[in-house]
C-alpha cells in the first residue's frame, strides 16, 4: 500500500466547498419552511370532516413515505421536464424536498394535534374564542411545542438527505465535492472533508433549532416544564 494522502489539493478548493455548503443550507432551510407549512396544512386537513380531504392526505403521506427520495427527485426533475416544464436543478430539488418533508411533517403534526386534550378546545370555546383562534392558540401552537423534538430531528435528516439532490446536479455541497473530486482525483480526501462539513452543519442546525425553540416557546422557557 503506497498511498499518500493529499488533503491540500482539496483545501485549496475551500471557497467552492464553502459556497456549496451555503447552498445546502439555503436549499434545506427553504424546503424545511415550505415543507412545514405543507405538512401542517395536511395535518389540519386530515382532522377535517371531509372524507375526500382525509383520503387525499392519507394517500399523499403513504406514497411519499414509502418511496425513496431519490426516485421522487428524479420524477420531479426528469418527469416535469418531459411534459415541457423545464426547471433548474435547484428548483426541482426544493420542490422534491418540500414534498418529501411535508409528508413526514404531516404525520408528526397529526400526532401533535391528536395529543391536545378535547377539554382544552371545549374550554377555549366556552371563553368565546373564534374557531380560528381556538385552532391557532389552543391546538396548533401547543401541538408544535409538543412535537418540536421530533420535527427537529426530521428536519436535520432532511438537511442530510438534501445531498441526494446532487444526483440531478443541484449545486450543493455533495455536488461541489463531486466536481472537485473529478478535477483532483482525490476522492477519498474530498468525501472525508465533506463528511466533516456535514457533521458541522448538523450541529449548526441542531443549535439553530434549539435557539428557535427557546425563543418561540415562551411558556416552556419561563416555567421550565413541558406542556
Amino acid at each position: 500500500m503506497h498511498y499518500t494522502f493529499d488533503f491540500m489539493s482539496v483545501f485549496v478548493n475551500w471557497p467552492r466547498l464553502l459556497y456549496g455548503a451555503w447552498l445546502t443550507v439555503q436549499l434545506s432551510a427553504l424546503s424545511i419552511v415550505l415543507g412545514f407549512v405543507v405538512g401542517t396544512l395536511c395535518a389540519v386537513a386530515f382532522k377535517s370532516k371531509s372524507w375526500l380531504l382525509q383520503a387525499l392526505v392519507k394517500a399523499y403521506v403513504e406514497i411519499i413515505r414509502n418511496t425513496p427520495l431519490l426516485v421522487q427527485v428524479f420524477l420531479v426533475y426528469f418527469g416535469l421536464a418531459s411534459i415541457g416544464l423545464r426547471l433548474t436543478a435547484e428548483t426541482a430539488a426544493v420542490i422534491a424536498l418540500t414534498v418529501n418533508v411535508g409528508a413526514y411533517t404531516a404525520e408528526i403534526m397529526r400526532a401533535g394535534i391528536n395529543s391536545i386534550h378535547p377539554g382544552q378546545i371545549e374550554a377555549a370555546e366556552c371563553l368565546g374564542m373564534s374557531k380560528f383562534h381556538v385552532y391557532w392558540h389552543v391546538v396548533l401552537l401547543p401541538a408544535v411545542e409538543r412535537v418540536y423534538p421530533s420535527l427537529t430531528s426530521q428536519f436535520i435528516l432532511l438537511m442530510l438527505a438534501s445531498s441526494i439532490t446532487s444526483q440531478i446536479s443541484a449545486e450543493e455541497l455533495t455536488a461541489t465535492a463531486n466536481l472537485v473530486q473529478s478535477e483532483t482525483f482525490r476522492s477519498f480526501e474530498v468525501y472525508v472533508v465533506i463528511a466533516v462539513a456535514y457533521l458541522a452543519l448538523s450541529f449548526l442546525f441542531r443549535a439553530a433549532f434549539w435557539l428557535i425553540g427557546k425563543s418561540a416557546f415562551v411558556r416552556k422557557r419561563k416555567l421550565g416544564t413541558n406542556l
Partner: protein, 216 residues
Amino acid sequence: MNSFTFLHVEYLLQAAVWTVVLSLIAFVCGGLGGFAIALGRISTSPALRRISSWYIQIVQGIPLLVVLFVTYFGLAIAGFKLSPLVAAGISFAVYCAAFLGEIWRGCIEAVPKTQWEASECLGFNRFEQLHKVILPQAFKIAIPPTVGFMVQIVKNTSLASVIGFVDLSRAGQIINNSTFQPFTVFGCVALIYFCLCYPLSALSKHFERKLNVSNR
C-alpha cells in the same frame, strides 16, 4: 428511441431482487452491529458508553450518500478492490448499526427499572439479567420501530446506485436513458418500491397497535 415495454418491467423486477438482497444484507449486518452498539450504550463501562455514543452521533450526522462514497473510495485506497455490492453492504451496515443501536437502546431503557432491581434481588448477574429478563421484554417493544426502520433501509438502498450497483433505481435510470419516458419509468420504479415498503409500514403500524393495548 425505444418505448417502454414489458421487457423493461421484467428488467426492473430483476433489479428489485437486488434491492431486496442489499436490504437484507444491510439489515442483518446492521442489526448485529446495532445490537453491539445498543449494549455499548447501556454498558456499565463509561468508555464503551462514550465510544458507542460518539459512533451514533457521527454516523447520524453524515448523509448516507457521503458514507457510501467514503467507504467505496476508502476501501479502494486500502487496496481492496471490492464489488459495489460489498462496498454498499458495508456502508449500509455502518449506517444501520447507528440507527438500530439508538432505537434498541430506547427499547431496552423502556423496560421498567424495577425489572432490573427485581432480577438483581434474585441474584442474577448482569448477563443473566439481560439475557433472561430485560432483552425478552425489550424485544417485544422493539418490533414496531424495527420493522418501521426496515422501510427506511429499503428506501435508502436506492442510494447504492451512485457507486454503480444496479439496483431498482439504477435500472430505472438505465431504462430512462434509452426510452426518455421518465414519468412511466420512474412511476413504475416508485410503484415497485411502494409495493416493497407499504406492507412493512402496515405491519409496523399493526404491531404498534397490538402492543399499545392500554391506549386503545
